[in-house]
Structure formats: C-alpha cells, structure tokens
C-alpha cells in the first residue's frame, strides 16, 4: 500500500491524516501535491498526523522537508503529530528533530498555531 492522505480543517489549521508508506514514487508525490494544493488555497497552518505512517524512506523525508519549506515560504508553518518510534529515530539520525516542531497530542499541536 502506498500512502492515503485525508485532510480535515480544525479552525484555521489543516490536519493531514496520513496512513501507509511515504516512499519514492507515488507516496512522495502524493504528499507533495497535497501540500502544494493547501498552500495554493491559502491554508498555511498544517499539522501532519503520522500516527499511521509505518514507513518513510529518505525520499519521503525529503518531501516532508520540502513541504516544511513550501509552507514556510508562504508564511505558514508545517508541524508534525504522533510520530512512531521508527520515525522518531529517522528524525534523530537526520537531525531533523531540530527543524520540525513535533507534538504527541493533537490538541497541543493545534493550540501551538495560536501562539
């Protein structure tokens, strides 16, 4: 299975519930297209829920970084929610935990956009 991405609006924050694998090919491009679509519609507060993502390869990690940059360049923020242990390890190895704001709790993640 590749990736399933479902978006929902909570106030002025768009939550992307992601499920499956974000890898080179379809998964990465789906993620990129979703982020670009949100920014094009002016939705600049993005919380990516990775609770049901079981695999991200380096290409998928690159797309997350690209998404972070795309949203930031539009004046918004892309933050991460509910990382599995494996994805935490990947962010640790690549030092991207210094780039992304990460939340374990959705309410806290949503509230962080109001600060």
């Amino acid at each position: 299975m590749s990736v399933e991405l479902h978006t929902r609006q909570v106030g002025d924050v768009t939550v992307i519930d992601a499920k499956g694998r974000i890898t080179l090919g379809e998964g990465s491009s789906d993620f990129r297209d979703t982020i670009k679509g949100l920014v094009a519609k002016g939705q600049k507060n993005v919380l990516v829920n990775l609770a049901e993502i079981n695999y991200i390869d380096s290409s998928g990690i690159g797309e997350m970084v690209s998404g972070f940059t795309t949203v930031a360049n539009a004046g918004g923020k892309l933050k991460l929610l509910s990382l599995t242990k494996r994805i935490q390890d990947l962010l640790q190895i690549t030092k991207l935990y210094t780039v992304f704001e990460v939340y374990d709790d959705e309410a806290a993640g949503l509230a962080s956009f109001q600060k």
């Binding site: 080179l24 390869d57 380096s58 290409s59 970084v65 990947l90 190895i93 690549t94 030092k95």
Partner: protein
C-alpha cells in the same frame, strides 16, 4: 549453516532491472535474510531499510532508470554476518564529495540523506568504484541474535 560455520555463503545472486520493483525485490530479499539470521524485529527493519536506500541509489542515481542498465544484487550469509552487494552501471560518484546532510546549512535540502541513514542502520558500509564502471556498495550487518543496538547517530 552450523554455528561454527564462519565462511560466507552466497545465497542470492540476481541481476535486476533499473526499476522501483527491483527496489522492493532487494528489500524483501534482505529482510528474508535478516529473518533467517534470527535478528530482532527492529534490526530486520533497519537492515531492509538500508538495503532499500542503497538500491534506490543504484536505480535512481546510478543507472537513472535506464532500461538498458542493470543492478547486480548479491547476498552472502555466514554465522556472524549478512553482506549485501549492490552494483550499478552508472557513471560512478565520489561519496566524499557529497554535501554533509547533517550540517546546519544543509538540513533543509530535499535530498542527500540516504547514505547517512544506511550508515546508521548497518555495521559497515563500503562504497567503491565497480569493476567495469559504475558503483558498488557493500552493506554488512553483524549477526548477534537477540539484541538490538540503537541506531548510530552522528554527533
């Protein structure tokens, strides 16, 4: 394979197309080898992940999806280690010339993290020019059943 058998045995010897299907094949073969060796679940995942990244390098950056080029894929197993060799037919590259993806100024780059992740998940990675052109990557995972060491994180 007996516990005292230290000599590596070639268990997989494939010539794969330059495609993403081949990436899946390589990962699946590596995972199967790691499971046969009795590695803990997390090490099985990490070894498969590393082999997948190395195979992506061969298919995408080495052979550039060229249908006329192939990737040689071999696995050796012994009582003490699993070794995978992935050899492409690309133009070759100098690993030392790659930008450090962990440097502050490169953290927002979209690509360049593959080798860092591979190194974190295997005990040894060797990348060298291949005979006849292209690049060969050899990944070694030590077999110590029952324990999972944390991934190696650069300081």
């Amino acid at each position: 394979m007996s516990a005292g058998d230290q000599s590596p045995k070639l268990v997989t010897d494939l010539v794969l197309a330059s495609s993403l299907d081949s990436v899946d094949t390589a990962e699946n073969r590596a995972v199967a080898a790691a499971e046969r060796a009795g590695l803990p679940e997390e090490d099985v995942f990490r070894f498969g992940y590393a082999v997948r990244e190395a195979m992506v390098n061969a298919v995408v950056h080495g052979n550039r999806y060229n249908a006329n080029k192939t990737v040689a894929f071999r696995i050796w197993e012994s009582a003490t280690s699993i070794e995978v060799m992935i050899k492409d037919q690309g133009d070759g590259f100098n690993a030392a010339s790659l930008a450090d993806p962990l440097a502050e100024e490169n953290l927002l780059c979209q690509s360049g993290r593959g080798l860092t992740l591979i190194r974190a998940f295997v005990d040894e990675l060797r990348v060298m020019p291949a005979d006849g052109g292209g690049t060969a990557a050899i990944l070694r995972k030590n077999v110590k059943a029952g324990t999972t060491a944390p991934p190696k994180v650069s300081e």
